[in-house]
Amino acid sequence: MLARTSLVSTLLLASLTAGCSWGRFSDILENGPVVFLEKPANLQSGFGPVMQAGTQDGASRLIVGGEHGTSQAAIYSIGKGETPNVVASRSDFCSNKATSKGTDWCFLAPQVAYLPKTTISTQNDEVGTGCIAVGISRAPTEENGVFFECENGSSFGRPVSNYGEYNEDVDNALKTGQDEPIAIATDGSEDPPVLVGAPTNDLAWYYEPSSNVPIDLLLPVDDEDLPKGFGTAVQALRIADSSWLFAVSAQGNDGELHLYRADGARPRYLGCLGGTPDFARKMTSGLVPGPDTPDIGDSIPDLVVSDRAQVYVFDGAKLADLPPVPTGERGYTCTLAALPENTLITSFGCGSTPATSECSSSDFGAALALGDIDGDGDNEVIVGAPAMTVRGEHGAGAILTYDVDTIGDHELKDVRSFAQGEGGDALGGSVSAVSIGDRDVIVGGAIRSGLVGLFYCSDMVPGPKRGKRCE
């Protein structure tokens, strides 16, 4: 009898123990600090290399695509709070379409842009909301050109620049299915201008808000050849109403950053920044020091560029105030030396931490983004280093966040990585930031593993804003 009772008690205790020990693993993953977006099944060519954030009616949007030229793109409505919507609301942007005449190709751009709202002039001024400039394609009723697909189902195209008969090249690419990569940017406003770079033809142009007319960005001498790879990356900064600072990167030779100020349809060349290899290979813009930051705080976005080793934060207002190069003046020199004082707010390189190492070969700056991670009102600079060694895993990648408060000052505030990062993940190959309400969270793409994660926790986040995912 005693033996039987003891046996039953042991079994019950073991069962209870079993129940407890299983559950804790689910509990610990629940509301974890890093949440992966679900990759749509139709995205077969990678997931994450193309990434762009936007805001629609105060709600964050995140565009994620696979390899440019072959993949489609998906859009996610992340939502506010700590329960993100990890399922794409739509994942067929930039799909090839089969027609009676063949295939209508769509080449996803390496750099896409989000337009919260725009007027489609070719469709009776229909207003497109939540439109993505996805790349080069043939619109159903328009000419070949930059293809826009909107969340509300609208789609339209804007003709590409015809400089150098680029339009014919695009036509041929669309007929043969050959990729024609472009870089697209807006200034983040609700009905923004669209800046496009076509590095294969060394072209860049822009469309004024809701306009179909491409306006080329050229050198002061019309016939002067634009630098090789002109248009590899583009960035648009809003200076004032209908006044923008356009930054066009040329990566054909050493990295060059050509600046233009456009007031309406009249762009003026401001000059070239450079001097380091691959200067301006990646760019982003936004308010880095807050508006109230002494000496540098204003409401004009700042320009953040990277090269192979460093990230540079330029005062956008001061860049916009650069005197235009007189028309007809041939030649240019890409340098930072001629910049007015304090135009370069700060620059910084990679920083090692106990978990990360091998900064020099980390591909620091392969991706850039700005986000208010700590919710203090100004943005921190988010830098991707996809080749960084993390916990001994070569090429696992990491995302480094820097805070810039004063001229010449910067501080590495946080380093994010995957807990089980494997060598070759290349986390940081793409970065972005989306708002969850009172702060932004970092979005990082491990572009070789096809993973895109939302990093809800950071050492920068103050206690009251940490939330349950950071407990």
Binding site: A14, T17, A18, W22, I28, L29, G32, V35, A419, S458
Partner: protein
């Protein structure tokens, strides 16, 4: 050829040589003595019916008149007067010259009178010729009047009934001489104060009660007698006192050439069949006899050695005088050790009080070992069988048959398998649990660091390890529990012992039974076999009793 042997009864029998089973003289007398003493013992113990039966059986085998008289006394004690009368009348018929014949007649008369009275009382009327007021009357056993052959009607009252006491039993006294055939006379002492008998003397207070020729026997009551063997051939007179005890057998033998009666030595012991050696300390000769044993021995000192298996040897010296009847009662003491005769149902090893005693092999002879008398601890072991432990009480001077039944051990193979598997499961479960905990700790650490993803494979592994650990613990616990139960469970009984009643030591002097051999024919018979068949008659000693037989061959 057929041999027909006709054995006719002997034509000449010694009148007082009763027919009995073929025995030596000493053995025969010893057998008679045992019956007589047995009956005496029952009589003294007032088991008159038992004593009577012993005496009746004794007479049937050894027709000595003493048995008849003693049986009659027993019946008289039982008031079975008719039976008593019959015995006393038979006594007088068998031994008409008995020295106490007159007294026996008186006893008979008293019994007859008592019987008549009893019958008259039953009937309620006086019998014819019976004057009840006249006291006892002489009445025949058939209830009729006594005729002139009996006591005259006016002979007076019949004699009073004899009241028999413990000494009422008569004894058999055998008198022999060497050589036989000598005349002898028997005298009875009439008074305890009588002087010693003197041959040829006046011998007042001595009365001659019988005269006979040796060998002879008398039925005598308790008392002192004197037997005189008269001059015979060239032999002088031999005489000796005889002290008769009730219910005994006394044997006297005179060696006429020495002119002295031999002494009679009887040795009895508390062990029947013990080996007696007289004047043979080294046992160079066959045993003198087996207890109880009595024989005529020369007067003088004699060394006595008594041996019996299981008993310590007894040595003593006895001194007997001429004609003395000496009885020696010996209490043999058992040996201070015993023998254990061990058997089992399988091959075993035995230890007694921790000391190995040997092995027993099934199919072989029992294992016998010696042990001091008293309790001992015995341990028996056998491969694959349950050990036996017990206590045996080794008797003194006896063999203790001991059988130990060894029961097979309940197979524990299943229990061992369960225990091993259960232990392995618990061990594996422990390891899995450790790794599960490590995985959880690692996950917790990464969660704290803000790097834990919601698809961390360590959670899956940790969860499965936790499952495996719990399953292992449950399964292992169940198996361990089952193993424990199966180790404890034992439906088979324990090995046990069966101790039989102690038996006496084997007697090495007793011949082992052999196959019956064909009787060896005497030489003349073998010659007769070879001869042609024919007829012939010749004399042959009778195989039983005394007598001659005629044998014819056809």
């Amino acid at each position: 050829m057929a041999v027909i042997a006709l054995f006719l009864p002997a034509l000449l029998m010694v009148s007082r040589a009763p027919a009995g089973p073929a025995q030596s003289s000493a053995q025969r007398l010893e057998a008679i003595r045992q019956r007589m003493e047995q009956g005496q013992g029952l009589y003294v113990g007032k088991n008159y019916q038992g004593a009577a039966q012993i005496f009746e059986d004794g007479y049937a085998t050894y027709p000595y008149s003493a048995f008849l008289f003693n049986a009659g006394v027993c019946y008289q004690k039982l008031e079975k007067y008719e039976a008593a009368l019959m015995k006393f009348r038979d006594y007088l018929r068998v031994d008409p010259n008995a020295p106490d014949a007159p007294k026996v007649n008186e006893r008979i008369a008293a019994l007859e009178a008592a019987l008549a009275r009893a019958r008259a009382e039953e009937a309620g009327v006086p019998e014819a010729g019976v004057d009840l007021d006249a006291g006892a009357a002489v009445v025949t056993t058939d209830g009729g009047m006594l005729d002139d052959a009996g006591a005259p009607p006016d002979a007076g009252p019949p004699p009073a009934m004899v009241t028999d006491d413990a000494d009422a039993m008569k004894s058999l006294v055998v008198v022999e001489t060497e050589p036989p055939g000598a005349p002898l006379k028997l005298y009875q002492r009439l008074s305890d104060a009588a002087a010693a008998f003197v041959v040829g003397g006046e011998n007042k207070d001595w009365k001659e009660v019988s005269a006979a020729t040796s060998p002879t026997n008398f039925t005598l009551a308790i008392g002192r007698y004197h037997v005189v063997v008269e001059k015979f051939r060239d032999f002088n007179v031999s005489h000796t006192d005889i002290d008769v005890q009730p219910g005994h057998v006394h044997q006297f033998k005179a060696n006429l050439s020495q002119g002295e009666f031999m002494a009679f030595l009887r040795i009895a012991a508390n062990v029947q069949g013990g080996y007696l050696y007289l004047d043979d300390k080294d046992k160079q000769r066959p045993a003198w006899g087996n207890t109880p044993h009595g024989e005529l021995v020369p007067a003088g000192k004699h060394d006595v050695l008594i041996e019996a298996p299981g008993f310590q040897p007894f040595r003593s010296t006895v001194d007997v005088k001429h004609g003395e009847q000496k009885e020696l009662e010996v209490a043999l003491t058992r040996l201070n050790y015993g023998i254990v005769r061990f058997r089992s149902n399988t091959d075993v090893s035995i230890k007694v009080d921790g000391a190995p005693k040997g092995d027993f092999r099934i199919g072989g002879a029992p294992l016998e070992f010696q042990a001091p008398a008293g309790p001992h601890k015995i341990e028996v072991e056998s491969v694959g069988r349950k050990d036996f432990e017990g206590t045996i009480d080794v008797p003194r001077g006896q063999v203790l048959p001991l059988h130990v039944t060894m029961i097979q051990k309940y197979p524990r193979t299943g229990a061992w398998v369960q225990a091993v598997v259960g232990t392995a499961l618990i061990g594996g479960a422990t390891v899995a649990g450790i790794y599960s905990n490590k995985a959880y700790e690692s996950l917790e650490k990464d969660r704290q660091a803000g790097t834990l993803t919601d698809e961390d494979s360590r959670a899956v592994a940790g969860r499965w390890l936790a499952v495996g650990s719990n399953v292992g613990f449950v399964g292992g616990t169940v198996l361990i529990g089952l193993a424990t139960y199966n180790f404890i469970k034992d439906p088979l009984p324990e090995s046990s012992s069966q101790i039989e009643k102690p038996v006496e030591f084997d007697d090495p002097l007793k011949a082992r039974p052999t196959a019956r051999l064909a009787p060896k024919l005497p030489p003349r018979e073998r010659i007769a076999e070879r001869a042609a068949p024919g007829t012939g008659v010749h004399l042959k000693p009778a195989p039983v009793g005394v007598g001659l037989g005629l044998e014819g061959r056809f």
